[in-house]
Subunit: 442 residues, 2 copies
Amino acid sequence: MTRQLHFNLFLHDTGHHEASWRLPESDPHANLSLAAHQHLAKVAEDAKFDSVFLADGPALFSEPGRRPSGKLEPTVLLAALAVTNSRIGLIATASTSYNDPYNLARRFASLDHLSGGRAGWNIVTTAGEAAARNFGLQDQPLHKSRYERADEFLEVATKLWDSWTDDAIIADKESGIHAVRDRVRAIGHQGTYFRVEGPLNVPRSPQAHPLLVQAGSSEDGKDFAARWAEAVFTAQPTLAESQAFYADLKRRVVAAGREPDQVVILPGIVPVIGDTEAEARELDAELERLIAPEHALAQLSTILRIDPERLKLDEPLPADLPDEDEIEGMKSRYTLIVNWGRRENLTVRQLIGKLGGGRGHRTFTGTPVQIADTIQQYFENGAADGFNIMPAVLPSGIEAFATKVVPILQERGLFRTEYTGSTLREHYGLPRPANQLELISQ
Amino acid sequence: MTRQLHFNLFLHDTGHHEASWRLPESDPHANLSLAAHQHLAKVAEDAKFDSVFLADGPALFSEPGRRPSGKLEPTVLLAALAVTNSRIGLIATASTSYNDPYNLARRFASLDHLSGGRAGWNIVTTAGEAAARNFGLQDQPLHKSRYERADEFLEVATKLWDSWTDDAIIADKESGIHAVRDRVRAIGHQGTYFRVEGPLNVPRSPQAHPLLVQAGSSEDGKDFAARWAEAVFTAQPTLAESQAFYADLKRRVVAAGREPDQVVILPGIVPVIGDTEAEARELDAELERLIAPEHALAQLSTILRIDPERLKLDEPLPADLPDEDEIEGMKSRYTLIVNWGRRENLTVRQLIGKLGGGRGHRTFTGTPVQIADTIQQYFENGAADGFNIMPAVLPSGIEAFATKVVPILQERGLFRTEYTGSTLREHYGLPRPANQLELISQ
């Protein structure tokens, strides 16, 4: 069989465009609606997507006034979706900076058990003071120490997931032995950030470990991904940048001693689909008109770490912005925006329009065939193993993608017409991890 | 309408008797099975129970060998049950010692949103070194400081749940205003254990706060319950002890400045139901025969803090056990067991038999009418507002209770024949909390 595309649906209530909730068709309470999320996951599962995904952070990051800003906690919400969907993978974002490894490893093991092996963890280190201040800190931990803690967090979590062997439970009613005692082991972790005795109080799960996903694109982030990630989300505005990122990350994976095909790279795309090009462009324009510029200016100034007064809507970005090195948190987002504005010589207004739609991700505006062509081009030219689909408007954007774009790619033999595996790892063609503690303590 | 009973089903895979998994009818993998939990919740919902409940702690507390010991994390598991059940309340245990208030408040708010107002939180401080060692501590925090932390945890959590007013979201598409900015407020908490800025990133939920449940019966535990709890689980082996507990707790509730009927007291009962008395006694005896004494001895010696060698199966408990004051953790369980053994002059073997079934809770063995009579006796004589039902064997024990005991109580007008409310608070007849931050910041 030819190499196959992978698709993830990035769940985002009424859509990834920040003004999408204002469209007549949109339910402005979708962010808190189980039914709305169930519908999105069902559309994606009917289209044979590999997974759905929820972004997250433990703080109210955006000002609540201008768009739906409350979010249900992802492991809890995806547990509910596991019941109404039987095949699609379920990827929850959770922070290594603001969780304890024992609790979080357990929640993912639980989600993996109850979904029959469909759990994935998008690992984030969580930038920003807003989160820090909800956890007793005045300022966020430094970038470097966040990633050091993340490494140790993963070390602890994977040991906990391996603290039961796969054959630990024998459930022998006759002898009264439920588990073989020496197949359930303490991990005795003593590190810089964590001391965790173990074992986990959940037996080894169907996938052994949830699929490990990562999206940091800073230098530290890419090195972390090379060590741990099995799927990578990334924001790349052009084909050339996608190709460069793809080659760079696969090289780092090899340098970390892993096989390059053990990591699936999924750039984000914002498909804006019309039956004609004119229809697609009209949808794009309608959304841009709905953006409230004062809100967008405030957001942009936060990312750029400058006074909002210094941003003039009809002028380009100021020339004297700080270097990426001086930035703590969302480094790669910062660089992407600054480079984009300068490369295309955009005014602040134009830049805001593009960010409102794709937030640095590639917007594909066009007919279903044009979008399928672009996807195929990326896939066959070293830019992607699949895509993180981020429709500007939901549910209509994923319905259009599922019914109009997916069939074209299926006809071309590039995307599955039926699920062949049952776990999320099987969907992505990734192996079930061996048990790292198995040999040590026998 | 006459005062009504309340029933909670204490979910516990194959049953509360530690040997229940060894019965021919039992699925020994029920502890990890979503379907098994769904079935139990459905039986309880069909019988119009107020709620189901999961105990929990962040450690593998019992030796894994002798009974199913892995447990799915309750907030995740109950989120899945929320989808397959539409009326029954969902009470998850979570620890104030080993969670951050921001994360936990958010998970309960999320569960409350996605269940349409059916979330409850059984608040525990988590005794034991096993848990402490999974969170970087060598020993458990002292009893006193665990409760001080719990008080501050509740203060933070309730403020976070109140950090959005009920009318914060206006979702006005025309003006582009989704939430009214000054109706979403930081909490700025600066305390001894926590500094939490807020606001929560989840809007106020259907119940405002999850139902607050508590089960500690030590002096500190009862005072904590008097301040915070709206439902209390308790283990009381006799009617007289239940009455004493009931009177004592209601007195403390009044002393804490609350109305006595704002707290619902639910003793645990282990109904062992036979169509004849002889049949019920035979089920009791069968379970006692299945207990492995060496395992039970190890468990008992842990609770009593003595060397297992000092426990002789056919002799009474040693005379020189420590005082409750010297015990850190599970104080009330300790006292209950020691008093029980001495009062009835039981041998260790007899005590183990009773603990295997009820673990200190009252075992009601008899016909459906006998059990209904005992429930009514407790309910009408100041011993209970309802019961925490803990069948020795599941699902058969709850099926028998639902189909044989509940109809008798319904005929007597003591238990609902249909749900009249939609939220867990409405089931228990408890009010939705007012917003404590509402007036302060307007």
